[in-house]
């Protein structure tokens, strides 16, 4: 489990916002894709997951997005890569619990814990979850 100070959390978010490693086009046409846009932010994102043999082998996104949605989606992509579908679904579930101030399992969230304060800015909950909801929608059918 990560023990992070506020300053560390801030720099993790800023890192993933200024330099989102997973923000790019998919590398093949085998990726499954979902488009999401937010009605309270102008976030407008495409999420891409590559699922092979029950495992999320790659994840990326592109589009226009604010700090919170960019960083949270980028971190999510890191987290989902290499996970079995059930594990991936559970990570998303635990994240959702955290955002909505429900009991959650910190162990599986890793860096995503930096969004623990999202409820302080309730108007931005949508931004912190937009990429996650998209991934969840792709995984739902699996």
């Amino acid at each position: 489990m990560l023990t992070l100070t506020n300053d560390m959390m801030r720099s993790i978010i800023m890192d993933h916002y200024s330099n989102p490693m997973n923000k790019h086009q998919p590398t093949s046409d085998k990726f499954e894709q979902i488009h999401m846009h937010s009605d309270n932010c102008i976030d407008d994102l495409n999420i891409f997951l590559l699922i092979e043999n029950g495992i999320v082998t790659d994840a990326c996104f592109d589009g226009v997005a604010c700090t919170i949605s960019t960083a949270s989606t980028d971190i999510m992509c890191d987290l989902l890569k290499g996970k079995k579908i059930d594990e991936a679904k559970n990570i998303i579930k635990q994240y959702d619990n955290m955002i909505h101030e429900q009991p959650f399992d910190e162990e599986v969230l890793d860096e995503a814990i930096v969004f623990i304060n999202t409820s302080k800015q309730a108007a931005r909950i949508r931004c912190a979850t937009i990429g996650w909801n998209a991934a969840d929608a792709i995984l739902k059918g699996k």
Binding site: M9, R10, D43, V64, C66, K120
Partner: protein, 409 residues
């Protein structure tokens, strides 16, 4: 004298309300406005002391209410200088524009006719005309904006033709705050055989409008943007146009007679456009709101908005990090971005300091193509905004730190 303290005392939302632990600084008045006690009282009184339908009726309570609704119509008419019979109550600006599109556009436009709109229109003034275009085959054209995003008579003249039947524009843009010379627009429209629809959502609350003198054909606005209740607004239309227009919202209270041969005879305007029981509490609240505004003087409100924006601009312009998109707009709206900061992030930061502004596309999605940016921040003042509000806003924009302070402080 403009007694801001006395004005503010009348607004419950301004008396001690906090946001994120800070005194609320409300600068999203282009979106909606707070209500003074007199408006709240007028609506509550309807429910607690005067409840009755309006229209025809045989008992005092109802007769009195009918009289009050007619009085409210006169109050609106006096406020914008129209005749009372030219005032149609609607649920708001959006419905007013839809009503015009349906009862005028759909009814009178045909294939090949032209509708002229602008790139800075609000969705509520674009989409009803898109429907008219789909239904009738009329063509939509956009007046090009000048380099500052303004609508000029010259640019209107460039695209108007004898096929143009309708021009519909916002008097004041809700994004850039520019004011259109509606009197000149009306003249050009009429010279070409077209009518001019003026979306007054952002102008009627803030400046004196003379419907007759400007010679415009339709004017629309919402009560909630001028200290009135939500769910009430007006359509002001030249009577000779209203008379020609068929009502498509039909039902009780709008017809003289109907029979089994599927015939219906509507009332004369404005009643024919008011099918069903109206938002009576809203009508009474709107009347109170107009009386409140008149007690201050709408011209004084305009001056107040201007002074505050000039003051804010004088400070913001000193900061290199702030981009302002409408330096020369003569209204209570400042549209800006902080360099390198996503608009929503700026708005969240200000929220964390108790300051309410808007970020996004402000329902004018086409305008962002013109500006070449995905979103802007907009702050907008009203009659109760203070210099201290502006100071708090400017300080937060210039010295406010970054968005993550909103999460970690």
């Amino acid at each position: 004298m403009y007694d801001i303290k006395k004005i503010r005392e009348q607004f419950p939302m301004l008396n001690g309300k906090k946001m994120q632990g800070h005194p609320l600084v409300y600068l999203d008045n282009a979106s909606t406005t707070f209500k003074p006690q007199c408006v709240i009282d007028a609506t509550v009184k309807y429910y607690s002391e005067e409840t009755a339908n309006h229209h025809r009726g045989d008992y005092d309570l109802l007769y009195n209410m009918d009289q009050k609704v007619q009085k409210a119509r006169q109050t609106v008419a006096h406020f914008v200088n129209s005749d009372a019979k030219e005032v149609v109550f609607t649920s708001g600006d959006t419905m007013s524009l839809n009503l015009i599109a349906l009862s005028y556009g759909f009814q009178f436009l045909k294939k090949g006719d032209e509708i002229i709109l602008s790139e800075n229109e609000h969705a509520s003034d674009l989409l009803p005309w898109y429907e008219v275009s789909h239904l009738t085959g009329a063509v939509i054209k956009f007046i090009p904006l000048d380099e500052e995003g303004r609508l000029t008579v010259d640019n209107l003249k460039k695209i108007i033709s004898n096929k143009t039947k309708v021009i519909s524009v916002a008097h004041v843009s809700n994004v850039l705050g520019n004011v259109v010379d509606i009197k000149a627009f009306a003249k050009v429209a009429h010279e070409n055989g077209a009518i001019l629809v003026v979306d007054g959502a952002q102008s009627v609350p803030h400046m004196k409008i003379d419907f007759k003198d400007a010679d415009i054909d339709f004017l629309t606005f919402s009560g909630h943007k001028m200290c009135g209740p939500t769910g009430i607004g007006c359509l002001i239309g030249k009577y000779e146009l209203l008379e020609k227009m068929w009502p498509y919202f039909v039902g009780g209270g709008m017809n003289v007679s109907f029979n089994k041969d599927i015939e219906m005879v509507p009332y004369e305007p404005p009643m024919r456009f008011e099918a069903g029981t109206q938002n009576i509490a809203g009508i009474l609240g709107l009347k109170a709101a107009i009386e409140f505004i008149e007690s201050i003087g709408v011209e004084n409100i305009h001056v107040h908005d201007r002074e505050l924006c000039e003051y804010a601009l004088s400070k913001l312009e000193k900061c290199d990090d702030v981009i302002i998109y409408n330096k020369n707009a003569k209204n209570g709206i400042i549209t800006f971005n902080k360099k390198g900061v996503f608009a929503q992030d700026e708005a969240t930061l200000l929220n964390s300091k108790g300051i309410a502004i808007r970020s996004g596309q402000h329902c004018a999605k086409i305008l962002n193509d013109f500006l070449g940016i995905p979103a802007t921040c907009r702050m907008s003042t009203y009659l109760y905004t203070t210099k201290e509000d502006i100071d708090a806003f400017v300080d937060a924009v210039i010295n406010g730190g970054d968005i993550l302070d909103a999460y970690f402080n």
